[in-house]
């Protein structure tokens, strides 16, 4: 008998309920517990992803990446975190203080809040909203607001340019992003993440085979959503020095940094859920399959970054509106016919 993680959690949940506490307290403890676990998971993922991106980028370029901090540099993220933590938090005099403070918080919080809806494994989801995918796309839109807040409040023309470019890019690419997943939703007749995973039990049912164009459009739009190359004009160092987060230092900068990696994992996890069969897979525990598949998509996105040059801003927009969007519509029409 295999020890399933979900049954372990169920045992803990039953024990808390049996303590005779009032119902609202039991609910509160369970919610806080789930949030704490997801937060712990998020931090571990950031830890791993920062190290992994640096190692992968090193090996793509035939060099080694971090090697000194721990075995093959696996403690590098912790070293970076300590460094950012002890840095002086410089706030220029002319910034709009409230907006300046809240921008990184909103960025991090919105990326993190979407984690509540992901199916991490069999019976291992914090919550199963019946509007799961809609919730995820809606809450990640707050990132746009935080970027505009960061750009505007910094009182710096570089930051403003960077912030406005980012906002325009993210808002534009959300349209093909959402349209590309509509094909999957039409097939499963449900917006719930758990139901979408449930519809992909057999490998030949995975939506990557039934909706290949949708998957490609999703992957491209997701790369643009997370501001990564070839769509990383807002962060392009060679153009106008780091864009919207110029004036941020110390822990606030760390929050933007972490939010970027959380976002990266989030779009990969959503790709896995929608197109790659979620946590289904033989032999290994379900949460391990989920993580492996998600990290594979993360690997593909990192691979794109270190291979391609970047597009100019107007080419980026042109690509989105004149190329991806018609393709996404075409995909939706075809899906409508296939899955009626």
């Amino acid at each position: 008998m295999r020890l399933e993680l979900s049954s372990l959690l169920k045992v803990i949940g039953d024990w808390i309920s049996s303590l005779g506490l009032p119902v609202w307290l039991v609910d509160l403890i369970e919610m806080c517990g789930a949030a704490a676990m997801v937060m712990g998971m998020a931090f571990l993922i950031i830890l791993f992803l920062v190290w992994w991106e640096r190692k992968l980028s090193g090996h793509f370029q035939q060099r080694l990446g971090p090697m000194r901090t721990g075995w093959h540099g696996w403690l590098q993220t912790i070293a970076d975190g300590i460094k950012l933590f002890q840095k002086e938090d410089i706030i220029p005099k002319t910034v709009d203080r409230k907006v300046f403070y809240w921008a990184p918080v909103i960025c991090f919080a919105s990326s993190f809040a979407a984690f509540a809806c992901l199916p991490w494994g069999k019976n291992l989801w914090p919550t199963d909203l019946n509007i799961g995918i809609l919730y995820i796309f809606a809450i990640t839109t707050f990132v746009v607001i935080s970027l505009l807040m960061a750009g505007w409040s910094s009182n710096n023309k570089y930051a403003l340019l960077g912030g406005m470019r980012s906002a325009a890019q993210i808002v534009s690419y959300e349209v093909p992003l959402t349209l590309s997943v509509l094909g999957v939703i039409v097939a499963t007749q449900s917006l719930s993440m758990v139901a979408i995973v449930g519809a992909q039990e057999k490998v030949y049912n995975w939506f990557i085979f039934r909706q290949p164009l949708g998957f490609l459009i999703y992957l491209i739009a997701a790369t643009a959503e997370t501001n990564r190359a070839p769509f990383d004009i807002p962060e392009a160092e060679q153009e106008l020095v780091a864009g919207f987060n110029i004036e941020y230092s110390g822990m606030k900068f760390a929050m933007f940094f972490m939010a970027e990696f959380l976002n990266l994992f989030l779009v990969s996890a959503v790709a896995v859920t929608l197109f790659l069969g979620g946590w289904h897979g033989p032999f290994l525990p379900s949460w391990l399959w989920f993580l492996l598949k998600a990290f594979f998509i993360v690997f593909v996105i990192i691979w794109f970054k270190w291979t391609y040059p970047r597009l100019r801003v107007d080419q980026l927009m042109e690509f989105c509106w004149k190329f991806l969007l018609p393709l996404a519509f075409l995909n939706l029409i075809v899906a409508g016919f296939l899955f009626r």
């Binding site: 992968l56 090193g58 090996h59 793509f60 370029q61 035939q62 060099r63 080694l64 090697m67 691979w303 794109f304 270190w306 291979t307 391609y308 080419q315 042109e318 690509f319 004149k322 190329f323």
Partner: protein, 195 residues
């Protein structure tokens, strides 16, 4: 842009690019993990300047002919000398300022007595600039373990009168005014302060 781009060839070239980076992902990294691994420097590599000594007697090969100081384009070599009892030049001090030296090797080429050489040593970083001026003893110590093939063209005894004749005659067109008795390079902290 979107519609006159041939889509299929574009996708094919994007995939070819991905394949190139994937190939490099699985190839051996070329990084050298300094300082645990060091690159074996070629023997002609031009690093720090040293003074060479005779292998048997241990004395310096230098005869204080001042050719290296004149050849240096940066005036990094400072020599003080006096005439000894046997009419030969004796070195009082010989120092090389490594913060000025540009490691061109002209001093090594000018020397006729295998006295000065540029070695492949390069690890000489310090925290204070005056300590970059090496005096005669330091230069000699650094040169003790340096192997060299002697290329003495003239014996020192026969060469010296001719050498001094050339240097004094060519004094009018000496490239650089060599730093001899007028400046005192031994007070390296003073020099370091002014530099």
């Amino acid at each position: 842009m979107a519609y006159d781009l041939p889509v299929l060839s574009g996708i094919k070239n994007l995939l070819i690019g991905l394949w190139v980076t994937l190939r490099h992902l699985f190839s051996h990294a070329v990084t050298l993990q300094y300082p645990t691994e060091r690159w074996p420097m070629p023997e002609r590599s031009r690093g720090v300047v040293v003074l060479l000594s005779n292998k048997e007697t241990g004395d310096l090969n230098c005869t204080a002919c001042m050719l290296c100081a004149k050849a240096c384009p940066c005036a990094a070599i400072m020599i003080e000398r006096h005439r000894g009892d046997d009419k030969k030049w004796k070195i009082d001090s010989f120092s090389v300022d490594n913060s000025i030296c540009c490691y061109c090797g002209l001093c090594e080429e000018a020397c006729n007595f295998d006295a000065i050489k540029l070695t492949p040593k390069y690890e000489f970083s310090t925290y204070d600039k005056p300590s970059l001026t090496y005096d005669m003893h330091r230069l000699q110590e650094l040169g003790r373990d340096v192997a060299y093939t002697p290329r003495v063209r003239k014996t020192p005894a026969a060469a010296t009168p001719a050498m001094t004749a050339t240097t004094e005659a060519g004094g009018a067109s000496t490239p650089m005014a060599p730093r001899t008795a007028t400046e005192t390079p031994t007070n390296s902290s003073e020099k370091g302060g002014s530099a």
